[in-house]
């Protein structure tokens, strides 16, 4: 299912993680992330444990560390924000390499960096082993409201169409000598965005008409394919359960 429809975050493979039903992977990722987020920031060992867990999953899914690292750069803007905290923080300060740093700020920065990175890596592993189509199927089977999964389905299909339309409109503008270099030239762009919106709106109407003509009554047919087995749920549960054990052990220590 979904072969030939790849998104840039998907890494084609046939590992045990790839074969797992999407709903168990989604559930495991969400639970894992929640455990990471509620872990007190001082428990450094626990975060080490979480990282080891993700490394094990990555190895099992045959996702290379460099591949993950490159895509994890999406969190860089947030990390940059975290870097400000030690300088701007209040309270007790320490001096390191001649810089006066706030202890509270250092903890805050670590908190954002560690939890953010773990969350991003977990999501990247989910995306690397699950096609977008399967992700939506998984959400559907997890009883996610159909309105949301339908919107996601349409977005998946029409994003490319809209991008293509926007590109053709841009090329048509450029072909008529449009060369936006100054702010006051942005008007044509803004009008273009408006035209794109109108076109998308009209297309939506035509798509709906075509769907009604084929008997659409408000529900998309539920995806084919068998739901996850108990064994798959158990296998996927290993990750959040292990994370939970690490968290509890670290806090009780």
């Amino acid at each position: 299912m979904g072969a030939g429809h790849a998104h840039p975050l998907y890494l084609d493979g046939a590992s045990a993680v790839h074969r797992m039903a999407p709903e168990v992977k989604v559930a495991a990722t969400v639970l894992f992330t929640i455990i990471v987020v509620i872990t007190p920031r001082e428990e450094f060992a626990a975060f080490g444990g979480y990282a080891a867990l993700l490394a094990a999953v990555a190895a099992l899914a045959r996702v290379r560390p460099l591949w993950l690292a490159k895509r994890a750069t999406i969190e860089l803007p947030f990390v940059l924000l975290a870097l400000v905290l030690p300088f701007a923080g209040h309270g007790e300060r320490i001096t390191w390499l001649g810089m006066s740093l706030s202890v509270d700020g250092l903890y805050g920065a670590w908190n954002i960096f560690a939890k953010g990175t773990l969350g991003v890596l977990a999501s990247l592993l989910l995306a690397a082993t699950t096609t977008t189509r399967d992700l939506i199927h998984g959400l559907d089977r997890l009883r996610c409201p159909q309105v949301l999964t339908q919107i996601a389905t349409f977005m998946l299909r029409y994003l490319d169409v809209l991008t293509g339309e926007a590109r053709r409109m841009r090329i048509a503008r450029l072909s008529r000598g449009y060369d936006p270099r100054f702010l006051w030239q942005v008007k044509a762009f803004a009008v273009g965005v408006g035209a794109l919106f109108l076109r998308a709106f009209e297309r939506g109407e035509r798509v709906y008409l075509a769907m009604v003509s084929r008997g659409y009554t408000g529900r998309l047919p539920s995806p084919e394919g068998s739901a996850a087995t108990t064994a798959q749920w158990a296998a996927a549960a290993v990750v959040p359960v292990a994370a939970g054990v690490i968290a509890v052990a670290a806090v009780l220590q």
Binding site: T132, R206, L209, A210, V212, R214, G215, T217, E224
Partner: protein, 256 residues
Amino acid sequence: MTPSLQVKGLHYSYPDGNVALHGVDLTIAPGERVALLGPNGAGKTTLVLHLNGILSGGGGEVRVGGLPVDPADRAGIAEIRRRVGIVFQDPDDQLFMPTVAEDVGFGPANLGLRGAELQARVEEALTAVGMLEYRDRTPHHLSFGQRRRVAVATVLAMRPEILVLDEPSSNLDPASRRELSEILRGLPVTVLMVTHDLPYALELCARSVILDQGRVVADGPTVDLLADADLLSRHRLELPYGFDPTLAAAQLAGGR
């Protein structure tokens, strides 16, 4: 025999008061292929949207395989939408699911088909248009001609009584245009083809109907209508430069 399509005295005005249909009568026998010709704004699309009950309420009657189109009757309208397969002009409007197979399965799934039966329907329809090997592709990655063929498959999968095509040859390159005509000719269904492409109408449909200003102004053998230069010019229809319908029809008859 019950006609595939029977339209009697159909009237329709849009909410803004524009009269689109002025009493249209049209009967199509099972297995017939009919071209619906007419200039822009003649009411062709309005007529098509009446065939499966998306538009209604202006007076007159539409029957598909004997069953009246009545939007108030929900069960009846579901059956009507199975019987009337409309292929819209832009395949990107028709194909909205992430994969070709899921899209072709959308209609039959709405009819309640599931599992192996649904898969068999999908394969049957994709085979009929020669697109089976693309079943797991995303529609966006197909060529325009391929997308148009998949759009035809999406309604074939519902085993329609009548296939309605809105400008089937528009935007196709000559090879895709010919491939589509070969596919359409091989289909064992009644076809109503809305088009401006007069040579295409001649090639595929023995009979043509000209609609202008919401009225049927001519109904007869395609070659006779196309040979009538006065009739065509009165209704803003034009043959491509140098095209001789009588000669083309003779060639077509000889080639079979």
